[in-house]
Symmetry: D2
Subunit: 307 residues, 4 copies
Amino acid sequence: MTQLTPDASGVFVIAVTPFTPDGGIDFESCDKMVDFYLDVGATGLTVLGMMGEAPKLTVEESRDVVARILARVNGRVPVVVGVSAPGFAQIETLTKMVMDLGAAGVMIAPPSSLRTDDQIVNYYTQVAALIGDVPFVLQDFPLVTGVQMASKVIARIANDVPTCVCLKHEDWPGLEKISTLRADGVLNKRISILCGNGGLFLPEEMARGADGAMTGFAYPEMMVSVVEHYNRGDVERGQDIFNAYLPLARFEQQPGMGLAIRKYALAKRGVIAHDALRKPGAGLSKESRVEVDRLIARQEKRLKELG
Amino acid sequence: MTQLTPDASGVFVIAVTPFTPDGGIDFESCDKMVDFYLDVGATGLTVLGMMGEAPKLTVEESRDVVARILARVNGRVPVVVGVSAPGFAQIETLTKMVMDLGAAGVMIAPPSSLRTDDQIVNYYTQVAALIGDVPFVLQDFPLVTGVQMASKVIARIANDVPTCVCLKHEDWPGLEKISTLRADGVLNKRISILCGNGGLFLPEEMARGADGAMTGFAYPEMMVSVVEHYNRGDVERGQDIFNAYLPLARFEQQPGMGLAIRKYALAKRGVIAHDALRKPGAGLSKESRVEVDRLIARQEKRLKELG
Amino acid sequence: MTQLTPDASGVFVIAVTPFTPDGGIDFESCDKMVDFYLDVGATGLTVLGMMGEAPKLTVEESRDVVARILARVNGRVPVVVGVSAPGFAQIETLTKMVMDLGAAGVMIAPPSSLRTDDQIVNYYTQVAALIGDVPFVLQDFPLVTGVQMASKVIARIANDVPTCVCLKHEDWPGLEKISTLRADGVLNKRISILCGNGGLFLPEEMARGADGAMTGFAYPEMMVSVVEHYNRGDVERGQDIFNAYLPLARFEQQPGMGLAIRKYALAKRGVIAHDALRKPGAGLSKESRVEVDRLIARQEKRLKELG
Amino acid sequence: MTQLTPDASGVFVIAVTPFTPDGGIDFESCDKMVDFYLDVGATGLTVLGMMGEAPKLTVEESRDVVARILARVNGRVPVVVGVSAPGFAQIETLTKMVMDLGAAGVMIAPPSSLRTDDQIVNYYTQVAALIGDVPFVLQDFPLVTGVQMASKVIARIANDVPTCVCLKHEDWPGLEKISTLRADGVLNKRISILCGNGGLFLPEEMARGADGAMTGFAYPEMMVSVVEHYNRGDVERGQDIFNAYLPLARFEQQPGMGLAIRKYALAKRGVIAHDALRKPGAGLSKESRVEVDRLIARQEKRLKELG
C-alpha cells in the first residue's frame, strides 16, 4: 500500500467530485478524471478536499467516491483524502474508512474556532493521537478556515507529531512561511511542503523551497510543468509557461465561483461529463462561460507562440 | 407519531449526551435523564443540539442515542433532533434517519458563511425543500453561528416556508425580536417561539410573547416554574423563583465551559452517572467545582426561604 | 500626579459619556457623575472605554471630556483613559494628550486583526515602546475585539513590558485565567487584575485572586460592596448583595443594548441628566424601560430585606 | 472646485502615502507621486484609502497630506479622500476638513460590525445625512471589512441616497455584481462603478459595464491602457497589455504584503524616494525584493515584445 511520506513532491491534484446534472455521483467521470490527472503527470491525488464538495456527500457517498478513485488509481500514485470534520468521532471514522480502502494518508484542516498557538498545537496533537499511525497533511488555509498558524506553530506540530508528514501550504501571502520553515534549525525532520491557491504563486513557492503543489486547476499540466522546470533549473521557461496559464488561473481562483469555473473548463476539455455542482453550489452565468472560453482560446494561442 | 407544531410551548429541554469516563455513550444515563426531564415537567426534548456534543458523535452513534431517547420517551412528549451539518446531503440523511426513528421534527442552525438577508432566506428555503414535510425549528444563535438574522428575515422564512413551525430564539439581546415578531401583521401564521441562552432572560421573554424555553440548565424545573407562573399571571412569584436560580444559571451560561458545569451539576444531582465530556471537551477545574457546589448550596437555601 | 500602579485595586468605574438629547456633550452631568462615582466608593475611573462611546467623539471632544473629568476628580483617584485606535499615530497622540491633562495611565485593546501569540505580544511591545513610560492597562475582551489571548500571552506581555501594570480581565469565561496568572512562577512581577463583564462574575473573580473590578454598572455600589466584603472575608454577605443586584446586572449586560440600559438607569437615579446615546446608538424601547423599572423596584425591595 | 460625479470614469489611482525612513511624511515624494500619476493618465486620485496607511496618521497629518496633494493636483483631476472611521463624529470632522481643503468627495467603507441588509442601508443613510451634500464613494470590500453587501443592498443605497455617486467595487468575486447593477431597472439613476483588487479583473470588469478602476498598482499605466483599449473596442490588445503586467499585479495583490511591494516598486521607479511603511508595517524581505525585481525585468521584456 502506498503511504504518504515526507518526500512527497510534484503535483498532488485536488480532484473535483463529478456529479450528474441531477446531483448523483458520476462514477464514470471519476475514472476519466483519474486517467486524465495521471496522464498529465500528477504524482498524487487529493480527494474530498474543500474543492471536492466533501461536505455535500453522505458518509456512504464519500466511501464510494474514494473507493472508485482508489480502484482506478490502482496504486500508481498516493491518494490523500480530506477528513476534516466538526468532531473527532467523525474524523476518526472517516480516517479508518479511507485508510482501509487504501488511501495513502489524510488531510486535516483546523476547525475555525481555534485561535491561540496552543489551541492549534493541541488540536493537532489530539487528532494525531486519535488516528494513530496514519500520516496526515496539515492544511494551512486561513482565507477559508479563519485560523492563522504562525510558522512556529507549524514547526511545533511538525516537530512534535511524527505522523505530520506534509504541509498543504495555502496561506496568502505565504512565501515567507516557506522560507522560515526551510531555514536551518526550524524543523527537526523533513516534511513535504506542497502549495495551494490554485498554483497562483507556484514559481516563487518553488524558489523558496516548496516540493510542489497540492491544489486544483483545470489545467494541472501547468503545475506539473512549472515544478519540472524549476526542478531542472530552467526557471525562465517555467515562468513563461506559468504566465501563459496565469490569466485563466487568476480567473479560476475567485472564491466560491472558482469551482464552477474549474468544472466548466474540465467538462469543456472532456475530462468530466458534466460541469454540475451539487446544491447549494451554483453554475456559471452565461457571461462567465464566455469569459472562460475566451481565456482558454487566448491561452492556447499563447502556448503555441511559446512552442 | 408526535409531530412538532406551531403550538409548541412550555419547556423543551436541550438534553445533554451522557458519556462514560472512557468516552463511550452512557445509555443507562440516557434513560435516567429522560425520566428526570419529564418528571420535572419538560413538555418536549431537543437532542443532539450544540450542547449535546452532536459533532463528536458518528452517524451511527447519533442514531443510537436518538433511538434510545425516543424509546424511553415513548411518545409522551415531542422530541426534536438537531441536524445542522456542513452540507445538504448530511442534513437530508440525518433528518430521514431521525424522523424514521420517531422524532417530532428537526432543528437547523445556519452555516456560519451566511451573511446577506437573501443568503439566509435561500438557505432555509432550500433546506426545507430538501427535507420535505418535516417540521423544523429555525435556530437563531448569532453568538455561536456568527449569523445575524434580522427579524424581517425570520419573518420571511416563517411566512414563506410552511414547515418552519418554531423559532429557537437565542439572539443576545433578543427581546425586541420577540416583540417585533409578535406584532400585528408581521407573521402570516403562528409559529412557536421558544427561547434559549440557558433561560437567562426567560421572565422578560415570556412577557414579550414567547411560548416557553428550548434550552438547557441543570435545573430545568426553574424554567418550567417560570413559564407556568407567567402563564397563570403570577409574574412576581415567577421572578422570585427565577432569581433564586439566577446565580447558578449565570455561572452555567459561560461559553464553552457551560456544558461541563451543566454535566457536573446533573451528575451531582444523580441525573447522569458521570460528568464526562467527550474529547476535546475538558472537565471542570477543582476551583470551578467548589464554586458550583457553593452556588447550589446557596440556591437550595434561598429556595427554602421562598417556600 | 497620580500614576496607575500594579497595586490598583477596588473598583475603577468605566464612566459613561453623558450627552444632551441633541448629541452635545453634557459637561454638567460629567461633574455630577464623577461626584456620584466617588461618593459610592470608586477607587478609580476609566473614561473613553468602549462603553464611553469614545469612537463617536472627535479628538477635541475627547480632550474636553477628559479634561473636565480630571478637573472634577482633582487627583482624588487615578483616572485611566482608553486610547485604543486603529493606528499607532492616533494612539500616540491621544496618549500624550491625556497624560498631559493628568491621566494616570491609558487602556489599550488589541486591534481585531491580531491572531497568533506573537502578533499579540509584538503589538503590545511596539505600542509600549511608542508611549514610553506611560503605564497601561491591557484589555482582554475577546467577545468584542475577537482577539483571544492565552494566559501565557498575557504573562509574556506582563513580564516583558515594564509599563504593563494592569489587566482589564474581560474574557468570558475567564476565571481560569485569573487562577493561572496568579499561580506561582507565572508572572515575574505583580500586576493588578481588575475584572469586567459588568461585574457579572465578581464574587468568583475575587475568590480567584482578582484585585477588584474595572467595569460599568448603573449601581457601582454593588461592585464596591462585593470587593469590600471579599477583602474582609465576609464572602457570604458579599454574595448576598451581589445576588440582589444580579437580575439587573444580567439585564444590563446585553451586548449593544447594555449601554442604553445603563444610561437609562443612571438618568433615573439622577446621576446624569439625560439617557441620550450619541448616534448611531439607539435608546431603549418602551418595553425595555418598563423591564428596567421593574427590576430596579424589585432590587430595592430585596436590598431592604437584606438589611 | 471639482466635484465627484456619477460620470467618474477612467482610473482613480489609490495613492500611497510616502514616508521617510524615520517615519515622517515625505511631502516632496507626494508631489512627485502626483505628477507621476497624472502623467500616466490617472483621471482622478483617491488618497487616505486602506492602502494609504490612513489609520497610521494623526488628524493633523491627514490634513497636511491631503492639502499637499490637492495643491499639487491643482484642480486637474478630482481627488477623493477616504474618511472611514469607527465613529460618526470622526467621519464628519474628516469630511468637513477635506472638503474645505478642496476634495471632490469622500470614500466610506462599512464598519465591520454590520451584518444584515438593513444595518448596512441604515448606516449609509445615516452617514450620508451626516455629511450633507458631499458626494461619496461606497466601498464594497468584503475581504477586508468582513461586510457582505448584496447587489440589492448596493442598489437600495444608490437609489435612496442622492449623494452616493460611485461604487468602489472590490468584492471578490464581483463580476456578477456589476452585471446585476448594470441590468435594466435595478438602479434608478446612474452611478459610476470603479473597480478595485489591484486591477486583477479589470478586463472582465470593463466588459461587464464598469467605468474604470479605483485601485492601486505600481504600474497604473496598465490600468489606464486597459480602460482605454476597452473603451475604444480593442479588447484583445487591452488583454495583451493586461497579461504582460499580470504576473506582477498578482504578486502585488498579496494581502498585507502588497503595500510593501507596491512601495518598493514605486521607489525603484523613482516615483517616491523611499519604500518605507510606517510602523507597524514591515518592509520586504530580501527574497521578495529579488522576486519583484525579476518580475519587473520580465514585464519590461514582455512589453517590448508586444511593441
